[in-house]
């Protein structure tokens, strides 16, 4: 079909074509552009409605709450303006919790990306039972966090956990893994345990790397490491950037410490070891243990803004090192 033919389909004949008496003269026929618009809105409207109802509306509500002393139930709450924001700015617990969340992100995100990438490289090789290995390595990622939390809690319990069972069988004294200072290492282990998530995305990226580039490098005498560093990593860089951004967002929002808490339940939030008392745990504690919906909402809004800033900074600092096959800014 030629361009001319396409145009003739897109632009139906005007009213004059049949003497001004046709149906389209009385009621203009829907153009292709209008149909496209309608289709666009029909396809996107469920998402937009869902986004408005389940994201925009709760966020707006939380923003309003952040200016109040509301606790969900008491009759005499009142507006405090920026009072909650002023309080959090001067609350050392908030900044310490934020610092721990940042440290957790700085440690866990690179580790999980490196572990996931290493696993992806391994299971991308033509080895026997490759499918089985891929499945086994990915399995932990599909375990619900609550199940994983219970499993880790039981494994690392000081008195009855399997880890200390093995440890003491070598003649060592048992370790309180879920208490300071070891709790932070267990938390990082939970992230590495679920590195299958990162692996599966990296694996998809690896399979998109053109084979002929590797063959050309091999013909030129490049070593496996040189090929990986010079070809694989640059071509994977958009995937790695994606994993960095989503990893940072997920790590500062992690609730895994809550699932590893020594004392179960809402009031047990504050028994979480200091090294695991991250920002989201502070938020949960203020919301559900202390019933301070207003203050906790302010904490969440600050976190939201900080995540936006962190994401912007990551994009800015990686703009020169991420390799795109197509210009990401170009219109298709």
């Amino acid at each position: 079909m030629t361009t001319h033919q396409l145009s003739s389909v897109a632009d139906p004949p005007g009213p004059a074509a049949d003497g001004g008496r046709t149906r389209s003269a009385e009621r203009p026929r829907t153009t292709m552009a209008a149909r496209r618009h309608r289709a666009f809105y029909l396809f996107t409207s469920p998402w937009i409605i869902g986004f408005t109802l389940l994201t925009i509306a709760p966020m707006a509500f939380a923003l309003w709450l952040s200016f109040t002393t509301y606790d969900g139930i008491s009759p005499h709450w009142h507006l405090v303006g920026l009072g909650n924001y002023r309080e959090l700015a001067g609350d050392p617990q908030t900044w310490k919790a934020l610092g721990r969340a940042g440290l957790f992100a700085v440690v866990s995100v690179p580790l999980s990306i490196i572990a996931g990438l290493a696993l992806a490289v391994l299971v991308n090789r033509p080895i026997r039972g490759r499918g089985l290995f891929r499945t086994l390595l990915y399995l932990p990622a599909v375990v619900p966090p609550v199940g994983a939390g219970i499993a880790f809690k039981n494994l690392f319990d000081q008195n009855s956990g399997a880890v200390n069972g093995v440890w003491t069988s070598f003649g060592f004294d048992a370790i309180g893994w879920l208490a300071d200072p070891y709790a932070r290492y267990v938390l990082v282990m939970t992230v590495l345990w679920a590195a299958g998530n990162v692996m599966i995305i990296s694996l998809a990226g690896l399979q998109d790397v053109p084979r002929e580039l590797h063959e050309a490098a091999r013909l030129d005498g490049a070593s496996a490491w040189r090929t990986f560093r010079g070809i694989t990593v640059p071509l994977l860089s958009p995937v790695l950037l994606f994993q960095t951004v989503t990893g940072v967002i997920a790590s500062v929002q992690t609730i895994m410490p809550m699932l590893l808490a020594p004392v179960p339940g809402t009031s047990g939030l504050t028994t979480i070891p200091q090294s695991d008392y991250t920002y989201m745990i502070h938020v949960f504690s203020e919301y559900f243990a202390l019933g301070r919906y207003g203050y906790a909402s302010a904490l969440l809004w600050v976190l939201f803004v900080l995540i936006l800033v962190a994401t912007g900074l990551i994009f800015r600092f990686t703009s020169g090192v991420v390799f795109y096959n197509v210009d990401p800014e170009a219109n298709p």
Binding site: P28, T30, A33, A34, H37, R38, Y41, S45, I48, I49, T52, L53, I56, A57, T69, D71, G72, I73, S74, P75, H76, W77, K153, N154, D157, Q158, N159, S160, G161, N164, T168, F172, D173, A174, I175, L178, A179, P262, V263, P264, G265, T266, S267, G268, L269, T270, T271, S285, F288, A289, L290, G291, R292
Partner: protein, 449 residues
């Protein structure tokens, strides 16, 4: 520019329409929510109960339908969900609550229905038949234990008592505590130290567990046992620096530091004492009569288990309060109050109440049901005797309506954890607890008005 009648909607206009649609959708969803528990009048009504899974079995729901003609719709208890339902004006008709800590808190916030009129007209739940434990569900606007009734306990225990395993005592050659006369807290801790078994940094058998039902009731009750009061007369402040409160606090810190039993710094992975005690890994367990329900299911365990009185401080009064009194309350905005009351009567005074009384899972909250408490076996008679003796020392310890049980627990654990590790003195801890908890009490007072 003239807009064509069939022109596609602009994106901006579409987003505006979407937002309007979303708002309308939200409104209609709210409307739907209001209709959730709408039933018809009389015996065909549906009553929504927010309870825990163990409180109401499917058999009981079927039994309720058969005996009252009322359908029970069960919603799992969740405080966040409860607050959402109360706020949206669509609360459950009956809600699970712990009388000792929930009654004053919710009543002060005016979300509970006064039940005096219902009690006055009931032939099933007669006022003269109510056990004094039900006073935990009374609140007069200032203090717990007096004023209108807002709920009722399904059963109760004196939660400062403790069970002990004679086999564990025999193994370590430790003499049994008396089943009628209380040991002192110091003697209890000394026993726990002797009974604890450790190997390579692991505690294989806990010497004893003593954590109360929650920290709020534990501290209030222990301070009363030392002869003082944790709260000020108007319940707007705590004072951990009084000699009595400090004595209670110091003992609990010693208990935590000794690592003889579960605590925030030495958690029991089972979450509560029952399974650990049953497995022979705990020599003493601070639980009242109600744990006999579990013990009675294990004949071997029942033979070696004894119930002992609540410990006392040397020279202090004998205090043995109920720290729970779990039962039900009716929200002020409940939609089916009369039907809910009928279920309330049935649950607390008819077949389910009789079944609970015979099971050993707590002391009945109606005096008339006491004769049904299990006393067929020797161990049951022994336990009942110890319990009946202890009832003479029953009291109600009022707590503040200005702080939730979770908030107190949370702040206590947060502030006290370093002291439990031995990194803070009792005096410093008392001051810090006063500061943190009084700040929350002040907020609560402002919110309640």
């Amino acid at each position: 520019m003239q807009t064509h009648a069939r022109a596609p909607v602009s994106r901006r206009r579409f987003l505006a329409l979407s937002a309007a649609g979303a708002a309308a959708g939200t409104a209609s969803l709210g409307g739907c929510a209001l209709q959730v528990s709408t039933g018809v009048g009389g015996s065909g009504e549906t009553v929504t109960m927010m309870v825990k899974a163990g409180d109401l079995t499917p058999d009981l729901v079927a039994q309720a339908k058969k005996e009252t003609g009322i359908t029970i719709k069960q919603v799992d208890y969740d405080i966040t969900k409860l607050i959402a339902m109360l706020t949206s004006g669509d609360p459950p008709d009956l809600v699970r609550g712990v009388g000792a800590v929930d009654a004053a808190y919710f009543a002060a916030r005016d979300v509970m229905q006064e039940l005096d009129t219902y009690f006055a007209g009931s032939s099933v739940l007669r006022l003269d038949d109510l056990d004094p434990v039900n006073d935990l569900w009374r609140y007069d606007g200032r203090s717990q234990g007096k004023g209108p009734r807002y709920g009722m306990a399904k059963d109760f225990s004196q939660d400062s008592m403790f069970w002990f395993d004679t086999a564990a005592f025999d193994k370590k050659g430790v003499g049994y505590p008396s089943e009628t006369e209380p040991v002192t807290f110091d003697e209890w801790l000394d026993n726990a130290r002797r009974l604890a078994q450790r190997s390579r940094g692991q505690t294989t058998v806990f010497g004893g567990s003593y954590n109360g039902l929650v920290k709020l009731t534990l501290m209030a009750t222990m301070t009363a046992s030392a002869g003082g009061s944790l709260f000020s007369d108007d319940f707007t402040q705590v004072d951990f620096t009084t000699p009595e409160a400090r004595r209670a606090l110091a003992w609990y810190l010693d208990y935590c530091k000794a690592e003889v039993g579960p605590s925030p710094v030495l958690p029991d992975p089972n979450g509560w004492d029952g399974p650990t005690y049953q497995a022979g890994r705990m020599a003493m367990s601070n639980n009242g009569y109600w744990m006999g329900g579990l013990i009675g299911t294990d004949a071997k365990l029942a033979q070696v288990s004894r119930l002992a009185p609540a410990p006392v401080f040397a020279g202090g009064p004998r205090v043995s309060a109920c720290q729970g009194g779990t039962g039900l309350w009716m929200p002020r905005k409940a939609h089916h109050k009369d039907a809910a009351w009928r279920v309330f009567e049935w649950f607390f005074g008819e077949a389910p109440a009789r079944a609970r009384a015979t099971s050993g899972w707590g002391i009945p909250s109606l005096k008339s049901l006491r004769p049904l408490m299990p006393a067929k076996e020797e161990y049951q008679r022994r336990t009942l005797k110890a319990q009946e003796n202890e009832l003479r020392h029953f009291s109600v310890i009022a707590v503040s309506p200005y702080i939730s049980v979770d908030a107190f627990e949370s702040l206590f654990n947060q502030v006290a954890t370093p002291a439990m590790h031995g990194a803070m003195s009792v005096g410093t801890l008392a001051g810090q607890l006063n500061s943190a908890i009084n700040k929350q009490l002040k907020r609560g007072k402002e919110q309640v008005g």
